[in-house]
Amino acid sequence: MVGWQAGKDSFYVDEEYNGQLEHVATPSVSKKCVKCKESTAVLIIRAVDAFCRCCFKEYFIHKFRAMLGKNRIIFPGEKVLLAVSGGPASSSMLSQVKEGLSRDAPKKLRFVPGIIHIDEGGASGQSMEDRRRAVAQVESVLRSSNYPYHIVYLEQALNLPSSVLEVGSSATEKLQTGPSYKAAVDQFIQTNQNLHPDLFLENAWSHLSSLSMQEVQNGLSNPITPENTQALQRLFASVRTLTAKEDLLQTLRQHLILHTARTEGYTKVMMGDSCSRLAIKLLSNISLGRGASLAMDTGFSDSRYGDVVIVRPMRDYSSKEIAYYNRMFDVPSVFIPGLDTKAQDKASIQRLTESFVNKLQTDFPATVSTIYRTSEKLHTACPPQNTNSPTFDKCLMCACSLDTNAEEFSAFKATLISEQLSQRRGPGPGLSLGTAGAPGPPPASFTGQGQCRSSDEGQRQGCGSREPGCCLSAEMPATLDLKSLLCYSCRLTIKDMTAVDILPQYILAEAERKKRRSHMRKEISEFLLEEEDEAKTS
């Protein structure tokens, strides 16, 4: 660099250099913004549309409000939990909420936001120091928003209550929230009209932030124990494939968010899935056998939990738009390495799909939007079950409607039969669930399961293949029981685990409970007049 600063040479070089600059700069200057047709464009979105900085900002902000306005799903005064991972999309969502709730916004949003961040470092085996640093970074972003926030550790999923697996529209919700949700909203709007709206929201906020500060301090006083972290790491170590690990992480994360939303009284959860992410999710979920719940998994709103509805307001933005917006308008985001960081393209189905979609996208810029438009047109064949339907019909882990009640001559049944046949032939290591390396002792409450659980590995394997004489009780081996409560895709995830009894206690306990209920139902079935009666009495 210093070499050419002497005498004539530098002058000469400078001249030559300026010539080049002009030569190259001309083509890019000629590209004008498609909207205002005046300013120089700074980015291309949707294949050909070039936007300038100002028009892009306007477009971006408008899109967020339009998305919420169009769907009319978030009511004024409603408590909305923003799930912020620290990544670009959710951080951008936070900035849009801030923008939308700010005083000078013309079409002001009027809900009451709170934030949840889940520290997942325990699953990917990060050191405590790294995790603390990452959480501190995220916390500083969250604190600057002035919204109440909850920092939750993935370890806490191990101590969740079983009630988190219940679908909210059943008994629990009625007891907790009293009158119907809509009536409550109407009532709110009426009281809100009497009060000055801004004043009302402000009160609510100050109240909330004082609450959240307490909570944060509580959280700090009893942080996660090393035992919890170890248990979590054992759980993820027992999962053989990255595909299943990511799926399990997704399930646990969802449960934690749901639990926080319920205990803190949030009725909506906003997730920051971008349309690029949803396009990838759509394709990978199909490959994961989750096709039956695609509409819920990728749609704007997801009401599978009943009392808490998941919304995805960022689903109109591509990850490119988000990255540009964050960079141009200084939206802070925190990069936290996850399970798939530095992973190969073929490390997991999710990863492979991502690289597939991204590669297609570079050659065919309409790829993501085409897939995404497809997801918009999807609907579930049978609408979500009504409140009286028994919870048996939902998957224990992902809460989607069970897709395993397929008819006899379906591909699903054929798969099951061939699986059974190959299991009967011998204890094939790949297929039986109780094989090698079940780490740690089974959780305490499993003593009720009888000797089958606490027995050695060989015996458990015998259970898996239903050999007579192992299980003396009428109970079926737990692996099979758990399976019968899961949807096809969650079964596949469980199948990739070396041991099922290492799953968090709340899942196992709920499985127990459901099993007992169905057992009882079977026993008393001849005394029952109608299905509905039974549901009411039990």
């Binding site: 660099m1 210093v2 070499g3 050419w4 040479d9 000469y12 070089v13 030559e16 250099y17 080049q20 600059l21 190259v24 083509p27 890019s28 590209k31 120089t40 464009a41 700074v42 980015l43 291309i44 070039a50 670009p88 690029s276 992410r277 990838i280 990850s319 490119k320 988000i322 990255a323 540009y324 960079r327 141009m328 990069f335 390495p337 996850g338 399970l339 798939d340 960081t341 530095k342 992973a343 999710q350 990863r351 991502e354 690289s355 991204n358 590669k359 996208q361 570079t362």
Partner: protein, 120 residues
Amino acid sequence: MTASLPVLVRGSDSDVSNKMAAPIALHLEFGGGAELLFDGVKEHHVILPDQSEPWDMKQLLVWIRANLLKERPELFVQGDTVRPGILVLINDADWELMGELRYELQDQDNVVFISTLHGG
């Protein structure tokens, strides 16, 4: 830093200097997890040595791969371009507006690479 020698050559032979590009200083930035492949360092001030042709983005990528990348080059460069899913900004503008790989780099240019991939 290696730039001083070739410049002397340029001074002594003006015919060659017509074709030669000056060493250029660039500000490179990696974000969205891409920095992990560069020892976690986000910002790099680099000086590209002068060479017979002007530096373009394609050559910059080759240079980054040889000089800056610390591990797993396939996670950053694929073929002669960046891995799909990594965005490139030249002076805060989309590189698609600047001719992508054909863009001729100028002294003091600011080039940003942002990974939009899950997990960086």
